[in-house]
Every structure is written in C-alpha cells, then in structure tokens.
Chain length 244, copies 2
C-alpha cells in the first residue's frame, strides 16, 4: 500500500508521500512517488502517484521525456494553464491504460492508478487535481481542499479537523506529516522516507523539498510531540459520570 | 456501513456500537447491533454484530431463544467458561451460514458477518473474542486489547495510542466514544444512537448501559472538547523550520 496527500491552501500547496511499495507484506520495496517538473519563474508541477507501478512509471516517463525534449503532444511545458496541464497528464494516463491496461488485467492484475497533480503556470492560479485511471480529473475546492490516495482513512480525521483555505502553508505541511505519521502508526504497509514538497502561491518555483527518514529529527520530534499532545488532549476530555 | 468496538482492559470490558445500517446512501435504517445476555451473579455476555443483517439477527435469535428456554445445543447458560461460550456463538454462526449462506450468495449478496463477543462466566476471567463468518474466533490479548468491526480505520489511531491493559474502564469508555466520534465525522454511513456497555471485571452483571443520541449532553461535550483539544494539540507541535 502507500499513502499520498496533496493539500491546497490560499498560501500554496503541500505534497507529501511515503515510499513504501509492496506486493504483500513479504515483498516490500521503496519507490519514490513524488515527481516534480519545473521551470523557475514560469511553472512548477508536482505529481504524487499511486496504484499500478508500471502504469505510473510509464506516465511519468512519457511526461518527463516530452518535458525535456519539448514539442510532443504531452508537453507540460506547452500548457497554457493548470487545466491544460491536468488534461495532458490525464491524456497520458489514458494512453498508458489503452496500451498496457488490457494485458495487465488479462494477467489478473489491477491496472488502476491515481495521480495527485498540482502546481502553477504563470498567468493562472495555483491549483490541485486528482487524476483517475480513465484520465478524467477533479479539482480541489475551498470545501475539499485536499486529496489523499492509498491508505487514506487513518490520516483523514486530522485533515478534516485542521485544514481549510486559511490554514498557513507551514500548518498544512505539519498536518500532512501528522496525517502520514498516524497512517504509519496504524498500518505497516506505509513507511518512510517521507517526501515533502511545499509550494508558495505565485513563487513559480519549488519552495522547500525534503525527504524525511524515520530518524529525521523534526519528524521524530513531531511524532513524539503529537503522541504526547494527543494523550494530553485525551486526558483533558472529561470522564463520563456514569455510575459503575 | 457500521462501526463497533470492543475493548478489554484489566478493569473490565467496554462495548460500543453505532446504529446505522445501510444498503447504499439512499436507504439508511437504524438497527441496534448490541445484544446482552446475563444472569446477575453468574454470567454476563455482550455481542456486537456487523455484516449481513439477516445472518446476525438469526444468530442472535437462536442464542436468545435457547438462553431463555434452556436446554438446547446452543445454550449460553450452560457454558462453563468464556471459551465454551465463544464456541457456542461460533457454532450458531456456522449453522446460520450453512443454512442461509449458499442462497444469499447465489443472490449475489455477501453473507459475511462478524461478532465481537465478550463477558464473564463465574469461575473464569472476563474475556473478549472476535468471531468470524466461518464460526472460528480469536481472543483479545494484552498486546491487542481491542477489536473493531465495520468502518474501522478512522477510529483506530486514537485506540492505538491510548488503550493498554492498564487503561481505566472510564478512560477505555471515553476512548471508544472518541473513536466513534472520529469515525462519524469522516464517514456519513456511521451514525447515532451510540450504544455503550461497560462491564467491571468480576461484577458478573451489567455495569452501565447507555444509548447516546447525537444531542446527548456528554457525547456533544466530548465531541466538541476533543475537537478543540486536537486543534490545540496540533498547535502545540512545533512548525518545521524549513526555509520557504
């Protein structure tokens, strides 16, 4: 399994993903799921991929080749807006699914894949999308300011309680880390290193990028402090006065 | 969907369940999922049922009939230990699955069902079991002191962080309520009233039983306080000092 989360706040975008890929608990591998394409001052795109790894690697390879060489049908460099860019990623997903999907499914394997895709193109707003297996996509809104993929449920309550459009970029980053920490604690198929990317609205360049190992000082401190604070929060809730 | 949790601590047992039964979001019904059989001073059993409602209702009806009339093959009154009692519940599950399962599955419906079963019989310890569709079961231990069924993931992190054998009975009850509150907040298919049962070790009688509506003063206060405390816990975690 895996866990990825993308958050859109007014201040910018946060992308976070674990690096655990597994086919059963006895075959655990580490693959990065975060990919970035940028031309500072003009555009910045980040992708968080989940699902069939051969599919997502193909999607990223096609985007990457054309981003570097330019001029193809799927060139993110040519996108005039984030919507156009999301269409490009969706089209590549559809192309890979058309090419490999039937054979993958004939082999009894799931070809589904998902991409959280966000960024900003000069002249457009910072935007965040969830792109599905068929290549269609939805955009994050003020009411639904985040997307999660993979093992999403353990880390959802903290996002639901904390994240809104006014949340600061640092708080959104902290919340993403707590969401991942909660998931790792309850599910062994999600694991470090944690890739993080912060993007500040209108920067048109990567903000901060980090890869946090399990023993990263900030991540360990956050994990411990959150656990303590949660236990303190628990104690601060009054006991029921039930007779027993 | 549904959500049930049974917790075993040294002080006793906590049972909690929501009452939402649905077949799609456009057909929502309320059915109780908690059933109790007791003879004060001698034995107390509680069941939390999830899964196919026709199956679980049959299981409870058979247990109930024989508990009241006595003398049948599935008489919980005749159980000499909690292990014997769990065998009886498992046997009834197997009998109902043998009787109805094939026809249910032929109709394309899932016949799976789960029962969290716990209590105490005089002369034995208080014990907690998870009983599966085939009638087999596992017992809660010091390392795994709780069982959840239904929509389990949202409410698992708080259980993982708070519950251990030394947790007091009231804290275990509070934690069960917070676990249910977290689940209701993130998933609309889990809803009130919340049935709660507390059992104190060696009491051999029901401790406290409550059915909490959404507007129950304690449950509302707990929900609000937990939300506040969680946000305060969030703020107490230091921001990363990432340059951005």
């Amino acid at each position: 399994m895996t866990y990825c989360v993308g958050i859109k706040v007014n201040d910018g975008l946060v992308f976070a993903s674990d690096s655990r890929t597994n086919a059963g608990v006895d075959l655990v591998s580490t693959f990065r799921k975060m990919f970035v394409f940028d031309r500072p001052g003009d555009r910045m795109f980040a992708l968080l991929t989940t699902g069939n790894l051969s599919v997502t690697q193909s999607v990223v390879s096609i985007l990457s080749q054309q981003f570097e060489s330019g001029g193809g049908m799927h060139d993110l460099m040519a996108a005039g807006s984030m919507f156009d860019a999301a269409c490009i990623v969706g089209n590549v997903m559809r192309e890979v699914q058309d090419r490999d999907g039937p054979a993958i499914r004939t082999a009894g394997v799931d070809s589904n894949a998902l991409v959280i895709f966000g960024g900003q193109v000069r002249g457009d707003r910072a935007r965040l999308y969830q792109i599905y297996t068929p290549g269609n996509f939805v955009e994050a809104t003020a009411e639904t300011p985040y997307f999660q993929n993979g093992e999403v449920k353990y880390g959802k309550p903290v996002l639901d309680r904390v994240i809104g459009p006014e949340t600061s970029l640092m708080d959104a980053a902290k919340c993403a880390l707590i969401s991942i920490d909660s998931t790792m604690r309850s599910n062994m198929t999600v694991g470090p290193p944690i890739d993080m990317l912060l993007y500040r609205t209108d920067a048109l360049a990567i903000g901060h990028r980090a890869s946090l190992e399990a023993d990263d000082p900030y991540f360990s401190a956050l994990s411990e402090k959150w656990s303590e604070s949660l236990n303190r929060a628990f104690l601060s809730v009054e006991d029921p006065d039930w007779p027993i």
